[in-house]
Symmetry: C2
Subunit: 324 residues, 2 copies
Amino acid sequence: MRLIADVMGADASPETLAPAFVQGAREAGIELTLCGDADKIRACLTEDDLSFVTVCHAESVITMEDSAMSAVKKKKDSSMATALRLLKEGEGDVVISAGNTGALVTGASVIVGRLEGMKTAAIGTILPLSTPTLLMDSGASINLLPENLVQFAHLGSAYMKAIFGMEEARVGLVNNGAEETKGTELYRTAHEMLKNEEGIRFVGNIEGRDVPFGRCDVLLCDGFVGNIVLKLSEGFGFYFSGILKQGLLSSLRSKFAAMLLKPQLKDLRKKLDYTEYGGAPILGIAAPVIKAHGASSPKAIVSAVKMAARVAESDFFRRARAND
Amino acid sequence: MRLIADVMGADASPETLAPAFVQGAREAGIELTLCGDADKIRACLTEDDLSFVTVCHAESVITMEDSAMSAVKKKKDSSMATALRLLKEGEGDVVISAGNTGALVTGASVIVGRLEGMKTAAIGTILPLSTPTLLMDSGASINLLPENLVQFAHLGSAYMKAIFGMEEARVGLVNNGAEETKGTELYRTAHEMLKNEEGIRFVGNIEGRDVPFGRCDVLLCDGFVGNIVLKLSEGFGFYFSGILKQGLLSSLRSKFAAMLLKPQLKDLRKKLDYTEYGGAPILGIAAPVIKAHGASSPKAIVSAVKMAARVAESDFFRRARAND
């Protein structure tokens, strides 16, 4: 298996990303192609790294300010577009990029192409809550139709089966109340359609209050709401870690208690840490494309590489194609 | 000052609510009218309570399943409609209800009436984060126009000035990115209008990740997104309390540490506790109407009564009227 990694245009520098991808690929036991500024990439790798890595030079970089169409239109020679083209041409099995999300989603849809019948793509992010919950769409598509959410329900269920071995994932719909008449027209219509859809296990609306408590395995919403849910979850993780730390450091006695609590605190930090699950797959694309967090740490990249290997090895893409 | 309290139709029983309202009114030093089933109310109050409380009997109850129009149409003799009518007629200064939110918002808009010029009402909820943040609309109106959000910006700023003494509240817009081109059409248009609006201090888009960190004092969004933000915040508060407790109880050593941390844990619980700030005002109504949480504990009701007294005493309503 070969991973194609785009190391440019993220908040993290290529000098951070390239060695982290190398480490991840080594740990996962897979081959690696790095796309980006070849000089920069070579400068931050060892001789030993370079003997094992293919470097694919790209002239330009898609920045966070570039438009969603940039990989397809203005910057066809960018590292991101190059990585996606290599995947399309079979020169690798999975792409990871920590760059511009909109450009990656659009680039993947156009260059790699969508699964047959898929009307739009979604970012699926695993929320590390009581049980792993796939939030989709967590930011790809701002304007959705109810039928897109129904497609996401099938795709998300297939993903949770392939990656987490869930036989019949419970599908929930984010909403502002449990009753089926709740929500905007998109959510009311989607609820009605999901209720009557065969082949998924729809468990109804999920209120914000219930999101952390594992009431469903696939949590559906549009990309606007999904982005807010995802980032709010991250934000509250940071916030609670912060006020807990503040409390623990507030006196000598509390510092002593914190020492006694070391294993519990480590476990807690892990539960609040969104980097554990690595990247987020762009679901609905014909081959695996993974979005890593823009400000990914080396640890997050290593974790994303392992997740990517798992996704590419799974029969998710075969299964999803067969479902069409 | 006289508080009019609707004690029916909440998740909490009248037997829980009525004594809590009495206690709250006593602590706040204000007069009290209780609306609801007079027999039930009298049965759970002492002689001493009854000498100080006015009981106003209402024949029917608006349940959580009733429509938003119920206080205005089918159940004009309900405790909620009665409470709102008493407010309108000057028989009291502020209403609190823990009943059906939609019915309370619509009932308040029609029976009490909106402030002149206000196109729609919003629920304003104080999120007890790094600094108190007014989330509005947190659930009154699912479908909004950009101009509604601009009105909320003025109203929210006036509220934070009157209640928290903030001279120039920072107004932020919930969004899926910091850039002004982010979000659905509603949010993009609202951003453009808010940027050019005089008399408010607009600080731009607020991403979910930044919500807990006090980047603004008034956080604007539609009621669908606001309900999700509010309940997710509550849910994560419970979730983190739960995993922290689990960690603290996991061994003898951790239980000992928890004992040492008693003051810090108490403070932490307080920071995660949304009942501290009591009820949420329905902003845009010509007189103060406060929504208390459906499952309010006696403590939450006492806290809501104190907040209600503060709102009714403030010059918020005079000021808001003068702004028209």
